[in-house]
Symmetry: C2
Subunit: 326 residues, 2 copies
């Protein structure tokens, strides 16, 4: 099942269900007005959603205008982002001469969740000198998760899978990281690809709580990276159990994988600029690639084995934020 949210001026938008080819949609708002509402009574709405799916399969539905789509969850009660690809962390450590991170547990920070940008929205940021970088990621959305859940039980709490861009400001990030308090200024709002998929739609590419698809990242129309989502040190179910050790998670919690990265990053490329700069530092003693400039674009997409886009595409540009003082 493929769900999306049409921007309609309200904070949470309107829930629609989309045909597997992404061409047609049916209004699902009689079943649940918003995706958040759907996640809050997920089990109860599976039957009406299945009826809508059957109608889409039968060829019903209106043509979907991608430009009208918001993020599947335009806001969420919680966004917890992991950093589960060890090849990324190891390279960053080597390139920037950082001390090793002393933990056997998953790495995770809590980010802003009151705003997720849509896949084609401009991304307003205050300054190029902050080091504007993209981070291509996969993520999952849960329903309610009780405190103390096991990884095995957590797998069943994963209701939807998404693809996202965890925007990062690289000049600020190390300064904030050194405080130990995590990131505030270094992590503005994330962007999310159009479609949230139930795990079954990924077939064999969803295994061990991991999204085993390539994530193709293009910067200004040039291929920048195409790493696969498989080699997470911890699966999403383990990230959920980690997060829920001392808290319950509300329906609509989004958990991110961290920047997708593969040990073969020299061949497959990277899903963030910082990683390429890390390789350049290792090879040449200094980075050669700059960060993003206002007006530049990034596109991210993942394709299923049959070549179809799984989550649709993120395709957007960064722009200078308007001075918006009172």
């Amino acid at each position: 099942m493929k769900l999306a949210t049409i921007a309609n001026g309200s904070a949470d938008g309107k829930l629609v269900i989309v045909s597997i080819d992404g061409e047609l949609y049916l209004d699902a708002s009689e079943t649940a007005p918003t995706l958040q509402a759907a996640l809050e009574r997920w089990d109860d709405i599976q039957e009406p959603l299945a009826s809508l799916t059957a109608r889409l399969v039968a060829g019903e539905g209106a043509p979907l205008d991608l430009a009208r789509l918001a993020a599947p969850l335009p806001r969420a009660w919680q966004w917890l982002d992991g950093s589960a690809y060890t090849s990324h962390g190891a390279l960053m450590q080597k390139a920037f001469d950082l001390p090793p991170i002393e933990t056997d547990l998953p790495l995770m920070y809590q980010g802003l969740s009151h705003q997720f940008l849509g896949p084609y929205e401009d991304v307003p940021l205050p300054s190029e000198s902050d080091g504007i970088d993209f981070e291509g990621e996969f993520g999952v959305i849960t329903d309610v998760v009780p405190m103390g859940i096991t990884p095995a039980d957590a797998l069943a709490r994963i209701k939807l899978i998404v693809q996202l861009n965890d925007w990062s400001l690289r000049v600020i990030a190390p300064v904030e990281m050194k405080t130990g308090f995590g990131w505030i200024q270094a992590k503005p709002a994330c962007s999310v690809a159009p479609f949230a998929l139930t795990p079954d739609e990924l077939g064999g590419a969803w295994r061990d709580g991991r999204v085993c698809l390539d994530l193709a990242v293009d910067w200004n129309g040039m291929r920048f990276g195409n790493p696969n989502g498989a080699p997470m040190a911890f699966g999403f179910h383990e990230l959920i159990a980690h997060a829920a050790r001392t808290r319950s998670l509300p329906a609509g919690t989004i958990i991110g994988s961290g920047t997708v990265s593969n040990p073969g990053y020299r061949e497959v490329g990277s899903s963030c600029i910082a990683e390429r700069r890390g390789i350049e530092i290792v090879d040449h003693g200094a980075p050669r690639t700059g960060f993003m400039r206002f007006g530049e674009r990034v596109r991210m997409e993942a394709r299923l084995p049959d070549g179809a886009l799984a989550f649709g595409a993120i395709d957007q540009r960064v722009v200078r934020a308007e001075a918006s003082h009172d």
Copy 2:
């Protein structure tokens, strides 16, 4: 103006307006069903709220049953907690032999905001061995804050002031802090005192964006600390401007002061156990005070110059979380 939320089974509860002595209340839900809704159109509802206030002053209202109160915002879109008392940080650094935190900027982390416990609710936590500690704090609630706001403009975005307990698990905290990613497991849901006050209710005790009141903390009925809120290194308006440099803040954002601490902590005591343990480490080489046990209580309250409770009191006990697996 004194606002509170009566638990009514819904996620956000019901908004009420309370007499200044805390004895009587009027239903405010025709003006705004919830405090979150009130904050989203704050300017528009000042007139109806003033009418309700006038009726309370005239002696109208039903007796307020404190036991029915939830946190003023039982959930919020964003909770950002500072650490603005330098005497606390300096002591922790000395006692635990930590490297100095290299920043001139405010310290701040993003915590879970999908759940704020009411002032008398039991606090369920999984294990005493995590090092259960309270942290008495003051906080502010904003309406919408645009990205890039100045500290001067941010002052006017502070609509309400609250008092809260930022529960901390001290065995986990340093482990997570070392990762640089901030805290997930070490920071379960916070508790909030009954009443959210407009700044004018504090009179001269609200100055320079600081709550200049003593915060009395009792642990199991014994006075533990009574530090004053004044000596923040950054005022709340500066914390807001810091938070909003690369993001806008939604209405209902809660910003915390961090553990209230005074340079004279040996005389006035502390608002968290970790600080007392820090003093013991400095004095004796090892801590003598243990952390909280299940069944133990903490009470926190701040009084106005006339002796009246400003925010009501937090008075609650920690309990073992039920194993709540599926």
